[in-house]
């Protein structure tokens, strides 16, 4: 039988994950402000405009507002603060 050997694990150390809850949902979007966040990926602006048009046609009671961060990939606290201050919900896309 082949000899058993001991070797090191090559992986680094992951951080501890702290559970976080999702935000409370609203029963309906009617009469609410929905932010459509264009994350600045190529063509995301066109996607968000189509999403805005969809809401205008199918759920006109929802007030949609398109908004953009200052940069792609980088947090924009000012933009988030604006969404938190007067938004009831948000859709962000298209990308990660």
């Amino acid at each position: 039988m082949a000899e058993k050997i001991t070797v090191h694990d090559p992986r680094g150390y992951p951080p501890k994950v702290e559970g976080k809850r999702l935000a409370n949902r609203t029963e309906t979007l009617d009469g609410k402000v929905l932010y459509l966040i264009d994350c600045l990926f190529d063509n995301a602006d066109v996607f968000m405009e189509q999403l805005r048009l969809w809401f205008a046609e199918h759920l006109p009671g929802v007030e949609t507002r398109i908004i953009r961060p200052k940069e792609s990939w980088v947090d924009d606290p000012e933009m988030r603060a604006r969404v938190v201050a007067d938004g009831d919900a948000a859709i962000i896309g298209v990308g990660l």
């Binding site: 951080p15 609203t26 063509n43 996607f47 962000i92 990660l96």
Partner: protein, 448 residues
């Protein structure tokens, strides 16, 4: 995704929309953020290049991951009451053991492959004895924290110490006296296994006395498989990156469409003694007797040529404008080429300035690029120069595509031919959590 998770924490119900190829990545990102029930919705890939009516079809079509109408997913995600799982999120600790369970060599080799811990070339198994020997290549304690690394900016950063670097250096076949260089590369904070869809690699260049001390090759075939130190240091940096950052697994922690052959190994010394110009690290503020590493994030394209011949200006302009200009090139030239430019009266900086001044393309072409649009246009819109002026230019107007500070020159090669390459390479490093703050070039000597 990061925005969406932050907004949820701020109390705003949010739906992140991604294309379907990112489904596993989205799930993993949400899990590691402690919000595994994040209500992701998906449209087909690609979005880039699709017309408004095609994108409207996506919106009115079926979410290819959730298998329900896309808008139903969105509306339900924003309005359906929270479940118990939504309310608590997921807290957990993950530990990485120092050693794996003892097993036979064959089984352990198979385990490393199955766990995606290798680059699929044969490895040296990191036994305790081999790792101990590798650790003798540095005076740093095994548990000294080198830094953190992540596959991309929105992923969680994993921490790693000197021993983890040694483990991966053993796997790569490196020798203990290479450890200071491998540690300096690892401490750059720049991953050699970026998960970007653009299939980046990280090319690195070594300057100073360490090059000769460990027998690196800056001569014939310097960028090829002809030197033990060059080959295994670059490979070790890659293995360190993929393993200490939590993986580089296609579809999960790696999304590069094409992949990148530079990712196997790409570490080269500058031929300082045969260059007519000052060494790269001296240009960046280090002393000639310092040993350093400099990382260039790129490897996406390569242009090449000979010269400088009579029409070198045309050739350089063709090469520079044929680059994918969101990623500036590091120009690697044989000493024959560098000395010829020097004889023509060019310093390294004046040649860089010439390249920046003459590399131009119509504004239409400059902006018609997905990454220029994504990464640079927001700065232009915000009024940051020179990007704002580039955005104001008429579509046919020729605009400069690089700033002098975007371009770098490294001299190496065997002088068997006057050859040069322009390789995608953004000079990077020295980020938060690294030991070489403020200068992308890192000092090797602190890791001796």
């Amino acid at each position: 995704m990061g925005f969406a998770l932050a907004l949820e924490q701020d109390g705003v119900p949010t739906i992140p929309v991604s294309t379907h190829v990112f489904a596993r990545l989205a799930k993993a990102t949400a899990l590691s953020a402690g919000m595994p029930t994040t209500r992701n919705c998906f449209v087909p890939q690609p979005v880039v290049g699709r017309t408004p009516s095609e994108l409207r079809d996506y919106i009115e079509g079926v979410d290819p991951v959730n298998k329900r109408p896309f808008m139903q997913c969105v509306l339900d995600g924003l309005t359906q009451p929270l479940t118990e799982e939504d309310m608590k999120g997921a807290s957990f600790e993950r530990s990485t053991p120092r050693f794996l369970e003892p097993d036979t060599e064959d089984n352990l080799r198979q385990l490393f492959i199955e766990n995606h811990w290798t680059d699929y070339l044969p490895i040296i198994l990191p036994t305790e004895e081999r790792v101990e020997k590798m650790l003798k290549g540095t005076s740093k304690a095994a548990d000294y924290v080198v830094g953190t690394m992540r596959p991309t900016s929105f992923r969680e950063a994993w921490e790693f110490d000197v021993e983890k670097v040694a483990v991966n250096a053993v796997m790569a076949g490196a020798r203990p006296d290479y450890m200071p260089v491998i540690l300096a590369l690892s401490a750059s904070g720049v991953s050699a296994r970026s998960s970007s869809t653009t299939s980046w690699a990280s090319l690195s260049f070594v300057n100073g006395p360490i090059r000769d001390e460990i027998g690196m090759n800056s001569g014939i075939g310097a960028m090829g498989p002809y030197n033990h130190a060059n080959a295994t240091i670059g490979r070790a940096y890659g293995l360190v990156s993929q393993n200490v950052q939590g993986g580089s697994v296609p579809g999960d922690t790696y999304m590069g469409a094409l992949g990148n052959n530079w990712a196997y190994t790409a570490c080269f010394p500058e031929a300082e003694e045969r260059s007519p110009w000052t060494p790269f690290h001296v240009d960046k503020g280090f002393k000639p007797e310092d040993s350093t590493v400099s990382v260039f994030f790129g490897g996406w394209y390569t242009q090449s040529g000979f010269g400088p011949r009579e029409t070198w200006k045309d050739k350089f302009i063709r090469c520079l404008t044929a680059t994918d200009h969101f990623s500036p090139p590091v120009i690697v030239m044989d000493p024959l080429v560098a000395r010829e430019f020097d004889a023509m009266g060019f310093s390294k900086q004046s040649l860089i300035d010439w390249c920046a001044e003459n590399a131009k393309m119509p504004a239409r072409n400059y902006w018609d690029d997905q990454w220029v649009t994504t990464l640079i246009k927001p700065h232009a819109v915000a009024g940051v120069e020179p990007f704002a002026s580039r955005l104001k230019a008429k579509p046919d107007e020729l605009i400069s595509i690089f700033r002098p500070e975007d371009l770098n020159i490294i001299v190496l090669g065997g002088e068997t031919q006057g050859a040069f390459k322009m390789i995608s390479g953004r000079y990077m490093g020295g980020g938060p959590g690294t030991d070489n703050k403020g200068n992308p070039t890192g000092l090797v000597d602190i890791w001796r």
